[in-house]
């Protein structure tokens, strides 16, 4: 049986069990049925703001993700390159990574107000530290011989070396950082949108809660899961596969 077939059968069974559970146990409004959820999807796209919220959330996520990738990679590079920075700021970053980024939301609201900037700030913060640490590990693990060879070939010691040698050499680690960073950013984004205001999936989820609209709530939870899976599957997984292939590691993964 192929993976796709197995997954399809599993999903169909899950849907049947869900609908049966709803009918047999009488969950009522507390957990919606399959048809109610589908109806909410339909309503959300035809009358409501589901599409708009999805787009708004994705834009916010991508903006924050780009910011955190750039900042994180740069930080990681600096940590790997300069011992002093690694011992000082690098140490702080490890501590910062342990703080759930939503913990910064109250501050963000005071600094930027209850708006877009606050959400982007905490979303970016959610991914930056992970990116910084994985790029640091990636660059530290580059065999010194690569760097020496590159320098002999005239890349110098600065930006050229960074772009042409260090980034490609650290790619496997960077990809890993991107993947976890993306997941962290998603979490921070939804948490931030739940509290701060604006158009977005988290905000819509909050509206659903205020109106007791459980089908809409479930709809959004499913949307988040689907978007997360799709982006991982079509973006990061592909990128990773390509990199593994390029590094001759494609065969090593089972």
């Amino acid at each position: 049986m192929s993976t796709a077939l197995r997954r399809t059968i599993f999903l169909v069974l899950l849907l049947i069990a869900w609908e049966a559970g709803f009918r047999i146990f009488g969950w009522g409004w507390k957990f919606p049925s399959v048809t109610q959820t589908l109806q909410a999807f339909y309503d959300g796209y035809v009358h409501g703001e589901l599409l708009q919220a999805t787009i708004a959330s994705m834009i916010r996520l991508i903006v924050s993700f780009v910011i955190s990738t750039v900042v994180g990679t740069t930080l990681g590079f600096l940590f790997a390159r300069y011992r002093l920075l690694d011992d000082t700021i690098g140490f702080v970053v490890v501590a910062l990574q342990t703080i759930p980024s939503i913990a910064w939301l109250p501050f963000a609201i005071i600094w930027f107000g209850l708006n877009e900037t606050s959400v982007i700030f905490i979303t970016a913060l959610g991914a930056t530290w992970t990116m910084a640490l994985s790029s640091r590990t990636g660059i530290k693990n580059i065999p010194p011989i690569y760097l020496r060879a590159a320098q002999t070939m005239g890349t110098g010691n600065g930006f050229k070396l960074f772009i042409q040698v260090m980034i490609p050499a650290a790619f496997p680690y960077l990809i890993n950082g991107l993947r976890t960073g993306w997941a962290f950013a998603w979490r921070a984004l939804v948490a931030g949108e739940l509290i701060a205001k604006g158009v977005g999936l988290g905000q819509l989820l909050q509206d659903g809660r205020n109106l007791g609209d459980t089908p809409l709530m479930l709809c959004i939870v499913i949307m988040i899961a689907v978007l997360g899976t799709l982006s991982d599957h079509f973006c990061f997984k592909r990128l990773e596969d390509k990199v593994l292939e390029r590094y001759g590691l494609a065969g090593s993964k089972s």
Binding site: G21, I24, F25, W27, W29, H47, G113, L114, L211, G212
Partner: protein, 342 residues
């Protein structure tokens, strides 16, 4: 097979959790040992505060009954607690109470507490002097589907201003009343329809002015229920006399506030301090109370009118306007009995 058994067990546990209901602990005399009471951290819940401070609940229920008070920030949360059986008696706004009742059908309105008490305020720099001026402006409401949201939609409809994102319509956003003052200062919103004391506070802070006073807010010129008393069906079935006691306590509190307004401000402040950590300026409380009508009576027609606005706004999706009937929801028989027994 074992895996199947596991999955079934998990499913059973999950469904049990979703249908679980709290049983009422009953004392030897058949009376509940504990009453879980839900109120807001807001001046409009004054009657509940007075009843607590003056011990009217204790008088009605007896000293052996423990009163557990939970203070909520908004009506949706209180209504969720009501619908899931986490509180027995609650003071809440009719908007969210009706929305959640139409889903869970496990609690009832037993009495009113006060009507009105909300105002439309506009920021001083916004050039909003009438409801018509709200076109192309951003207006804040405390939460989607709450009583103030419904009033605002009615106001806008009367003035012929559509609600939406397009040009010429009023843009509605959600801000908790306590954040509204900050939003006014940051020039993020132009106007807000807020319950008291927030309207008075914004006016006193010098950032806004009242555009529509409480007695002009629809429906029914400010004479629409804003705080009502709801009781869970389970509690009502087993402890009808205790619910009646709560109705009586509410009535006594309303009478007290009418007879001795000056004394009540102090008592209200005490409870506010208890719930939100800090009190309010007494003048602010006084101004807020003057903007509402204390009454235990409820007009079901007005509540239905408000619910129809909710249906139009697609806040309630599973009930059609023609089928709406709240006569089951509002049960004023206890109130009548209390009134006659007096």
């Amino acid at each position: 097979m074992r895996r199947m058994a596991w999955m079934l067990t998990m499913l059973l546990i999950a469904s049990w959790m979703m249908t679980a209901c709290g049983e009422i602990a009953v004392g030897p005399n058949g009376k509940a040992k504990k009453v879980r009471l839900g109120v807001f951290k807001n001046v409009t819940h004054a009657a509940a505060y007075i009843a607590l401070e003056n011990g009217y609940f204790k008088q009605a229920w007896g000293d052996d009954v423990e009163i557990e008070v939970t203070a909520f920030d908004n009506g949706s949360d209180l209504s969720i607690a009501m619908a899931t059986g986490d509180i027995d008696i609650g003071f809440v706004g009719p908007g969210p109470a009706t929305t959640f009742y139409l889903k869970s059908k496990n609690y009832r309105v037993v009495s009113g507490s006060n009507n009105g008490g909300a105002v439309l305020v506009a920021s001083n720099g916004s050039n909003v002097n009438s409801v018509k001026d709200l076109a192309d402006k951003t207006v804040a409401i405390p939460s989607k589907g709450n009583t103030n949201d419904i009033s605002l939609r009615m106001l806008l409809q009367q003035a012929g201003v559509p609600v939406g994102k397009s040009e010429g319509s009023a843009h509605l956003i959600v801000r908790s009343p306590s954040d509204t003052l900050i939003s006014f200062r940051q020039k993020e919103i132009d106007a807000a329809l807020v319950p008291e004391p927030w309207g008075t506070q914004i006016e006193k802070a010098g950032v806004g002015h009242i555009v529509v006073d409480w007695d002009q807010i629809p429906p029914n010129h400010g004479d629409y229920p804003t705080v009502i008393m709801v009781a869970s069906d389970q509690f009502l079935k087993g402890q009808r006399d205790m619910v009646k006691g709560a109705v009586r306590a509410n009535l006594e509190a309303i009478a007290f506030m009418k007879e001795q307004p000056d004394k009540s401000y102090e008592l209200i402040n005490n409870e506010l301090k208890k719930f939100s950590g800090k009190g309010l300026d007494k003048a602010l409380i006084k101004a807020s109370i003057s903007r509402l009508k204390l009454t235990p009576d409820i007009d079901v027609k007005v509540m239905e009118e408000m619910t129809r606005v909710s249906i139009d706004a697609r806040y309630i999706k599973d009930v059609r306007k023609e089928d709406l009937d709240l006569s089951q929801f509002v049960d004023l028989s206890l109130l009548e009995e209390v009134k006659q027994g007096k």
